[in-house]
């Protein structure tokens, strides 16, 4: 395809060794990755169309797509249907602004402390019987019921996390969807004198599955920071079990550790 004068096509030439042990699509991916990491391809710049790349490299379009998929999985590229493929070097650890430390803070406080505006959108709300896992985590007795709340959490309007909260109904009293819609859940608990004083939080990294990916606006397989948290009241009774999945590209978790090395 001849266009006016965009970029010399020769810029996109990548030496390919078809007889090599490393697959062609990996060679293509490495070639492009090198251009990105060395700064030859600026953030946001567009790649040639798949068909053009295939033609200049002398490989099939499917092979080019395999290479682009590989780089997209790594977060180096973003593909926009009908528009093009663009360079999106992921945020480097080094260029993160130093942020306040996360303590026993709610999502809202956490986001606010980062200088952004928190938001929530209730995806589901129900009163139900607890699962086996919830029963154990919240130290429930048989026949107790729980409130279960799923919210999309946003920062400056952008999806940041999916948060699933479970609270023992017997402890929090009556709760309806309206009460939980706008305000911070912690603020609501605080109003009822149910502020947690201790929490244990697990953090893991997982790949986004088909259910979570569309909710967060990421592609399947994107890295998510998954956290499980159980919070206790002063007296030692569990008040909340919360599981959250944060977008890996939009969130980092900060903690401070003190004490002597042992």
């Amino acid at each position: 395809m001849f266009v006016g004068m965009p970029e010399p096509i020769s810029t996109w030439a990548i030496p390919l060794d078809t007889g090599s042990a490393t697959p062609v699509y990996v060679q293509v991916a490495q070639g492009l990755a090198h251009r990105i990491e060395s700064g030859q391809l600026r953030r946001g710049s567009a790649l040639p169309a798949e068909r053009d790349l295939a033609a200049t490299l002398g490989v099939s379009r499917v092979t080019v797509r395999q290479a682009l998929a590989l780089l997209s999985q790594q977060g180096l590229l973003a593909r926009r249907h009908g528009s093009g493929t663009f360079v999106t070097p992921p945020a480097q650890p080094g260029d993160l602004p130093s942020r306040p430390l996360s303590l026993l803070a709610s999502f809202s406080e956490d986001v606010r402390s980062r200088g952004q505006t928190p938001g929530a959108q209730v995806l589901s709300f129900e009163r139900a019987r607890p699962t086996a896992h919830e029963t154990m985590s919240l130290a429930l007795s048989p026949n107790e019921t729980v409130y279960r709340l799923r919210r999309l959490r946003t920062a400056d309007g952008e999806p940041l996390a999916i948060e699933d909260s479970t609270l023992p109904a017997s402890l929090v009293g009556e709760l309806d969807q309206r009460a939980v819609q706008d305000a911070s859940l912690y603020a609501l608990l605080q109003a009822r004198d149910l502020s947690p004083v201790r929490a244990i939080r697990h953090l893991r990294a997982v790949n986004a599955d088909m259910h979570l990916a569309p909710l967060l606006g990421v592609s399947v397989g994107a890295a998510l920071l998954a956290t499980d948290r159980v919070s206790w009241l002063e007296g030692g009774r569990p008040i909340e079990y919360a599981r959250a999945h944060y977008r890996g590209d939009r969130y980092d978790f900060v903690m401070e550790l003190r004490g002597d090395a042992r």
Copy 2:
């Protein structure tokens, strides 16, 4: 392919709506995911060969491969070249054993506290000029040099993390590869009276890139828990900057939070 009597092929039938808005490969993936999540497919059980699945479903093999790739990205399936495709439901948060809390502990202590045996394999060791990021993190003055150490960290012999450590040469004194080979780095520092008393740690979730994936024995795109940590001595001087990438499927990070809710 007719084999003896493995599984009725009809078990693998998935209703496909070729005219639907959702792509066929997604439908296939959802059908398989449902079987896995509902427990119809036990952990470790093998799927039919790609060619067989394609034949029974009436789609091309490429389409089947797209579906399997999707599930593989989510960690539901493991594909073994020459052997087959197997069900590997990822560890659920709920079925993790409760583990001791991570404090200001070294990797070795951390792994040991989980009841496993830590190991290390030095991938590279050098004395060099610091990068701009290292200079800032370690508060170095110009012209200072650093030791840079890259190690594969293992638990019970299995790859668990890649750890990149940077230490100011002026502070730690002479260091050679032998000294750093077997022992814990923290133990070595402790011997020189250089135990950190405070650290700040950032955690994020990232997708494994082409460099890290093979080192950790995971596929490109697998979720990794990335941590950045700066440690300080009693006097407030930075003694170590460490970046680690943990396998998301083998590691979870635990922390305890105290204080009143505010």
